[in-house]
């Protein structure tokens, strides 16, 4: 992109520093507010804002991939999942009284001071001689073009040089998904009755509140606007997710982000058209199967490379004549595995939460 405004790099104080300062101070304000507020609704919203700010700041640090993840996960899906978690808990946090946690304060202060002290030893931002930029990092940066030939080094490191680490991450995601499923029940809606005493309710939780009952009775034309706009958006979001997925080599993005975005499209569908319809269109069994399938694809590729005579996840074995092509194919396949697992796990967790109701009166909010 041709840029014609002169970017003032020669001013005494770097202008980006000012923007960074503003963003960071807003981050601090939001963080303090999150700690101070007791209304969990507000806290969930503030978490969203926090993610927005953090991701903007990541962009300014030129960490576009991280910003992408933060935007997809923090601002989008974790809001929904935290709301789902709120179905199982109370509306406000217990207020903590100050002056009772002297030890905590002491620990926090000591840690803070130590961290501040440690910053003096940290390399300057963008320092070419810092450890992160010298040994392995530098080698990855220089070798990516000849080895793999993709413009985005992050993807090269993540998917090829460090493919094994990423495999571990995908397994962690799957394990976390299993954990949540075990707590919530495989299909969340069925296990509601066990949680009724947790929510402190007398009547059967499957009995829907008056508001909900009214809404089900007349799934009215009141929400025409939402319905129409969601219908227009959902195909666009899905294509966007796949774009993000397949352009991980060229720009920010990749399987993790794309999986989350894809899950968000399905979540938008379920928000507007209801869980019954969603379970029909995207069956929970399929979702669970997908979350495992992704890991199998990833690990399976590793086994294939071993069978073909290489090491685990050594993509060069896929096409010994044209290793760059082999690397591309390998990255494509394991990113597909990541996408499938992440989308599957996110949706499984969402399905676990979404079938629940809270019967609360309007004035309680």
């Amino acid at each position: 992109m041709e840029m014609s405004f002169p970017v003032d790099m020669n001013l005494p104080i770097n202008l980006f520093t000012i923007l960074d300062m503003i963003l960071l101070s807003m981050l601090v304000v939001v963080a303090i507010a999150i700690v101070r507020l007791t209304n969990l609704f507000s806290v969930v919203m503030l978490f969203g804002v926090y993610s927005l700010l953090a991701a903007t700041w990541f962009v300014s640090l030129d960490a576009v991939d991280v910003a992408f993840t933060e935007a997809a996960v923090g601002a989008g899906i974790s809001t929904v999942l935290m709301l789902g978690a709120m179905l199982l808990t109370s509306r406000t946090a217990l207020p903590t009284t100050p002056l009772r946690h002297w030890t905590a304060l002491l620990v926090v202060t000591a840690t803070g001071v130590a961290l501040f002290y440690a910053t003096y030893d940290m390399p300057m931002f963008g320092d070419a001689n810092s450890p992160a930029n010298s040994y392995v990092g530098l080698e990855y940066m220089t070798r990516t073009i000849t080895d793999i030939s993709v413009p985005n080094v992050v993807t090269a490191v993540l998917a090829s040089y460090r493919g094994f680490d990423t495999f571990g991450e995908v397994v962690v995601v799957l394990t976390a998904g299993f954990g949540v499923m075990l707590i919530l029940g495989i299909d969340g809606a069925k296990s509601v009755s066990e949680d009724s005493e947790l929510a402190g309710e007398k009547e059967k939780p499957t009995k829907k509140s008056s508001v909900v009952a009214e809404a089900i009775k007349s799934p009215s034309n009141h929400h025409v606007v939402l319905g129409v706009i969601a219908k227009m958006l959902i195909p666009l979001i899905v294509v966007y997710a796949l774009y993000v997925h397949f352009h991980g080599d060229y720009g920010p993005g990749g399987g993790f982000q794309a999986g989350v975005i894809f899950a968000s499209a399905v979540i938008l569908y379920s928000l507007i058209f209801g869980m019954d319809e969603t379970r029909r269109a995207v069956p929970p069994g399929l979702v669970r199967f997908c979350s495992i399938l992704g890991v199998l694809i990833y690990g399976g590729l590793g086994l294939v490379t071993i069978i073909m005579g290489g090491k685990f996840l050594d993509y060069n074995m896929l096409d010994t004549h044209d290793t760059i092509h082999a690397q591309h194919v390998g990255i494509l396949i394991i990113e597909l595995g990541v996408l499938v697992t992440v989308a599957g796990v996110m949706l499984s967790i969402y399905y676990g939460f979404a079938g629940r109701y809270r019967d609360l009166k309007d004035q309680n909010w």
Binding site: A67, A71, G251, M275
Partner: protein, 101 residues
């Protein structure tokens, strides 16, 4: 110039943040979050000019979508205490005659 404009946008973000923290109603907060999201999207577009990386626009697109989904989720949960029910029965209507039967 672009820097000055981004500064103005961050200023208005800060003002919205004040409304977000002050409330008083939860709806005010939702409105503020939504408005904050729009501002962030525009700020990111502008910022990608400033740092000369068009990738920022991709993130802005993502934000515009995620912000919407988050807001709708908050409102739906707020209204119905549930993420389960259908807000609109429009999906099946068009296809019911053609596909299932």
């Amino acid at each position: 110039m672009i820097f000055f404009i981004s500064l103005l946008i961050t200023l208005s973000m800060a003002l919205i943040l004040a409304r977000l923290l002050r409330g008083p109603q939860l709806y005010d907060r939702v409105l503020a979050v939504n408005s904050f999201g729009t501002k962030t999207v525009l700020f990111l577009c502008l910022f990608s000019f400033l740092i000369n990386r068009p990738d920022g626009v991709d993130i802005a697109i993502l934000y515009a979508l995620m912000n919407f989904i988050g807001t709708i989720a908050i409102l739906k949960f707020f209204r119905y205490r549930s993420l389960d029910i259908a807000l609109s029965d429009m999906a099946p209507r068009e296809y019911a005659a053609g596909e299932d039967k």
